[in-house]
Symmetry: C2
Subunit: 371 residues, 2 copies
């Protein structure tokens, strides 16, 4: 067995699809000594985290909590509590995370209907209506911000259609929450989830989730038990609700960190935060175009928090990424799934979305592209 040295990690400039960089205040909150998970002090912190999550989700939903796992656990919680075997579920598949929704839903016995679109495309309300018109469904799942493609799915008008056909609307906002407008109540979204390590700039380990009363009622009227104990919201809601009934031990330190990360969002203000993300994204897009990159996603539905420049012919995309990390300490990511080798994924999320980071990345790329 090797000798274990002190933890010695470089201070990376994280411009990949997450984790994003974490503000020093959040790191300090992480290092705060622990109280117990039923300590009155911690119960207050839980309530504050919930209030702040409602603020960032723009919702009054009572059932708004951080799920004790990473974003994918939030995705699974958003599905497994509402699906019973045989339920019809429609999933918009226009990237990697739509695929993941299908995989998860099928495990819980859903009859999954895939609504497909090229990677990078988005769905129109008419397309959703056409699919619902063929046959009703219990739930329609859409990815608001596809981390694999950089597309931003417009949500306006979706809930009206979905509800007219008696279905629930689920929204993945892993790469949008805190970075681009997310209006859970105004948009009529029934179930939404995110991750902490993207635009909230908190380490990975928790998944913000919000469920409105319409969806909650569906959950309470289940005929079968939820086929997942850890993510069973009928129990979890009693720990995060007034009863404070023990379910599992909440990740204390991660909740400290999330509270501080959300407090930073609150202090900055949502509009200012969205504008900052937009400003730096535009700076990045302009710079990349100057360097000869075309953006994979048209401007009309391009995500400001995650950009997918297509790799020009003859460019050694992997070599440049390696050198960015080794020589400039900057992380960006390769393409995922269909876009592997064809595009990069450059994230400007939360604390990573700063002018100095964009400037450094573009300057470094200018050097590396020449060679």
């Amino acid at each position: 067995m090797s000798v274990y040295t002190d933890l010695d990690t470089p201070e990376r400039i994280l411009l990949g699809p997450g984790p994003s960089m974490v503000h020093p205040r959040v790191l300090r909150a992480l290092a705060q000594p622990l109280v117990g998970h039923m300590d009155p002090k911690f119960l207050t912190i839980m309530s504050e985290v919930q209030e702040l999550l409602r603020f960032v989700f723009q919702t009054t939903n009572q059932l708004t909590i951080p799920v004790s796992g990473t974003g994918s656990a939030g995705m699974e919680a958003a599905l497994c509590n509402f699906i019973e075997p045989g339920d019809e579920v429609i999933i918009g598949v226009n990237g990697y995370f739509g695929e993941r929704l299908c995989d998860m839903a099928a495990r819980y016995g859903a009859a999954v209907r895939r609504l497909e679109k090229a990677w990078g495309g988005v769905f129109s309300p008419e397309e959703i209506e056409a699919e619902l018109g063929k046959k009703p469904a219990k739930l329609v799942g859409l990815v608001h911000a596809e981390t694999s493609t950089g597309a931003l799915q417009p949500m306006e008008g979706m809930a009206e259609i979905v509800h007219r056909y008696g279905a629930l609307l689920l929204m993945d906002c892993v790469t949008s929450l805190g970075g681009v407008p997310v209006q859970v109540d105004e948009w009529g979204v029934d179930i939404a989830y995110s991750g902490t390590q993207k635009c909230l700039s908190c380490p990975p380990g928790l998944a913000p989730l919000t469920v409105n009363d319409r969806a909650r009622q569906v959950m309470h009227q289940r005929k079968t038990s939820v086929k997942n104990w850890y993510l069973d919201l009928t129990m979890v809601e009693r720990y995060w609700g007034d009863a404070r009934t023990y379910h599992h031990t909440a990740p204390i330190s991660m909740n400290y960190a999330l509270r501080e990360a959300l407090r930073l969002v609150y202090e900055e203000g949502l509009e200012a935060r969205y504008a900052r993300h937009r400003r730096h994204a535009e700076m990045l897009w302009d710079g990349l175009e100057d360097l000869g990159f075309a953006m994979h996603v048209p401007l009309a539905h391009r995500l400001p928090t995650l950009t997918t420049p297509r790799i020009p012919a003859g460019v050694d995309e992997k070599g440049i990424r390696s050198r960015l990390l080794a020589e400039y300490n900057v992380e960006i990511a390769g393409g995922l799934g269909e876009l592997a080798g064809k595009a990069w994924r450059i994230g400007l999320m939360g604390y990573s979305s700063r002018q100095e980071n964009v400037t450094l990345l573009l300057a470094a790329l200018r050097v590396l592209m020449k060679k």
Copy 2:
């Protein structure tokens, strides 16, 4: 909405059933800036965490990982990957967490056979054999250290019987790993899991899990997919194995913390660590007996890491716990389930297991019991 103040938590003396106190070195590791979850640096850290987990589990199992959730997620991973609908499963139920195993196993379609015992009791190999003799089973689950009762389940001789009947042996060592001997390979345990916030003295948020090749083969020969995406080890093992295939974003900071917590275990040495836990437990037991408490669990199978003194008649158990917290900053816990109101749960785990903490607790109790 209230104004959100700086995070201001007291430095509690945590002597409940977990979380235990966290060493300052672990808190500093938590506060380290993040690298990406596919960063070469993080891949090295992952390998080190796995090596150190094998050390503390006393195993050579390749599939030894921290599950990205709290102890209960570890429990669920230990069940859902091995159970297919209709499988017979025997669970030893002698406390709260045996009940939880039954609940979880049933959700995955197991035909659960409860082997019951009074809370605080333990099972003999003969009892397990008698149950297996009635009808074979696929898996036998036992709780090595019952956090709800303070009983330590002897594991010697169990695997031999369980394997003779063709079953897998699952062991919950949430409240024993790193505090009392856990010998996964020597005992022939096929699947074992724990939590980080007990005797490893790391914040809650990860669940150490180890699976041997016998169990792994059972998993790979499943006829149906694992009915839980987040905890599906057939995918998770590819991220933690040589392929490093992305599954979900690992909780980076929590893995930093776990590495440091395990490094502390490694530096102290397992034997010294077990002896320290035993020494302070005996000090606690003697002191509690002097104060008029009887221990719920007989000495022969009493857990050194979690003690359950029975509350003498006329003692206001809740009032004393509240005053311990308010006046002495010390957390202990009330009884759970059948022992609610009848016993306390006093944990001396990991960094909490120190002479000064035992001395303070006993001195404070001496004052509070008089009133």
